[in-house]
């Protein structure tokens, strides 16, 4: 029995990895095409129809490049840093529920890799915090002052924004009364989504997610005009590809988390009223989850090409003087309301 359990978990893991990695590849293409469109250009459209083979060509090119490690670098850590980044970005998916549990071959299968984790949210927050090590260590081990500055910025930024992120999640947990992500999704049945129950919390969480994933307007760790390339200046070939992958995977993770916590996860309002068979219902729910994630990914890209990068002091101001008090007040008000009801 334990064998089949492991097999099922393995199949789910491989499937999720495949989907996430393909999404990353095409997310890069989407980013290039959308940024081009916003700048009134067309973007890469030569390799394959609509440029659909571009990601494959890019990856091959990256892997065929020479892998340069600076002589003065701390080599083991230099090699370890991208691995930390990518591991953290990918393993967050373990607790994200993609749909309701289904009956398959007479056995109940949860559409989540690790469904029974009763500290799902905690696991999520812990892992995303570890992500900062990848960036900081890469900056430090490169023995390059620009990389180091990028790494340091990332540390300060993540610590500042993690607080407001955690506090906004706390408000959600207070209402839902559970740390399990599938149950939080269950709670958001109908139009009971947390984006409507927690609009302020949603905004603080969204902004903090942007800061956590180092995306514009918070992409200070890799601010090209000031820091050359930031923490990955001294990386090339496969290690650089890993950082690249991790950045986009983190974007997908953040979108999935926002969807799960605030946009109702796989919930489709009033789907039960249609009276579909269970198979179709599950399919539509998984599709809805994917659609919400894709929309958020588009939003990430859209914001990157609209909003200019913050200055460092502005970033800190926003984090500590606006986001943090806002999240605290939001948490307090939520707590009072939960107590009163």
């Amino acid at each position: 029995m334990i064998g089949t359990e492991i097999l099922i978990a393995l199949i789910k893991t491989v499937l999720v990895f495949l989907v996430v990695l393909t999404t990353v590849a095409y997310l890069v293409l989407a980013e290039r095409r959308i940024s081009a469109a916003i700048q009134n250009r067309i973007g890469p459209n030569r390799v394959g129809p609509f440029g659909l083979l571009q990601p494959i060509v890019d990856v091959v090119k990256l892997l065929l490049k020479e892998d340069i490690v600076p002589t003065a670098a701390t080599k083991p850590i230099h090699a370890l840093a991208p691995i930390i980044s990518i591991t953290v970005a990918l393993s967050t998916f373990a607790v994200i529920p993609f749909g309701r549990s289904v009956e398959l071959f007479g056995r109940r299968i949860d559409l989540v890799i690790a469904g029974d984790v009763n500290i799902g949210v905690l696991y999520l927050l812990a892992l995303t915090s570890i992500g900062v090590y990848g960036i900081t260590l890469s900056g430090w081990s490169s023995n390059n002052k620009y990389s180091l500055l990028g790494g340091l910025r990332s540390t300060a930024q993540m610590i500042s924004y993690e607080l407001s992120m955690g506090l906004s999640v706390l408000a959600v947990i207070l209402i839902a009364g559970t740390l399990e992500l599938p149950k939080i999704v269950e709670y958001q049945a109908g139009l009971n989504w947390f984006i409507f129950l927690q609009p302020v919390g949603f905004i603080t969480f969204l902004v903090a997610s942007f800061a956590e994933t180092n995306r514009a307007p918070f992409d200070l760790p890799e601010a090209e005009p000031e820091l050359v390339g930031g923490y990955h200046t001294e990386y090339s070939s496969f290690k650089f590809a890993l950082f690249f992958l991790a950045e986009y995977a983190a974007m997908i993770t953040a979108s999935a988390v926002i969807t799960t916590l605030y946009l109702g996860g796989w919930q489709v309002p009033y789907l039960e009223a249609l009276g579909l068979s269970q198979g179709w219902e599950t399919l539509i729910q998984v599709g809805a989850f994917a659609l919400k994630v894709v929309f958020l990914l588009f939003f990430f890209i859209w914001v990157r090409w609209s909003v200019p990068r913050f200055r460092y002091d502005q970033l800190m101001n926003l984090g500590w003087k606006v986001m943090f008090p806002l999240a605290v007040v939001n948490l307090l008000v939520t707590a009072l309301v939960v107590l009163a009801v």
Partner: protein
């Protein structure tokens, strides 16, 4: 020293300080551009046709009867600031008495200033509308008479433009 009023810091209004309405404004702008018409020209498929005022590579005009207009006076070679033109004259039985036995423009040197066209007394050297000049060797960039001769008919728009100017 007092700061002149126009250099004073711009005071943000309440709604601008909230920042989110301004963000939404910015997002709307980029969304409009996302859907707007694109400016990119898909080059090898869509080519640009230059207007007659365009100075492409210089060519030698050939009349309908197959005789080139050039009388090998050497003025173009003399005026060329980049020293790109080399002419060697020879005699001919025709009315014009002289013709260029050898005429070469080094396209690596040519700066497309159009002085040769301006100075030519016979309207023989003319800036064409051809702009695709890519070479893989230096020898390829030396354009001899075989590449320079072009019929007057093809150069008509440019000639008309020149006549309208001078």
């Amino acid at each position: 020293m007092s700061i002149p009023p126009e250099n004073k810091r711009y005071e943000l209004t309440f709604w601008e300080k909230i920042y989110i309405p301004e963000l939404v404004k910015g997002l709307k702008l980029t969304l409009d551009q996302l859907l707007a018409k694109k400016f990119t020209r898909q080059y090898p498929e869509e080519r640009w046709t230059p207007p007659p005022s365009f100075r492409g590579r210089p060519v030698l005009a050939v009349e309908e009867n197959g005789v080139e207009r050039c009388v090998a006076c050497g003025l173009c070679s003399r005026v060329c600031p980049a020293l790109a033109i080399e002419v060697q004259a020879a005699e001919t039985e025709l009315e014009k008495e002289r013709y260029p036995e050898f005429f070469e423009i080094n396209m690596l040197r040519c700066i497309f200033c159009g002085f040769c066209e301006e100075v030519c007394p016979e309207e023989a050297i003319i800036m064409s509308d051809e702009y695709e000049l890519a070479f893989s060797t230096r020898e390829e960039a030396l354009f001899g008479k075989d590449k320079l001769l072009m019929s007057v008919e093809k150069l008509r728009p440019r000639l008309n433009y020149l006549h309208s100017q001078y």
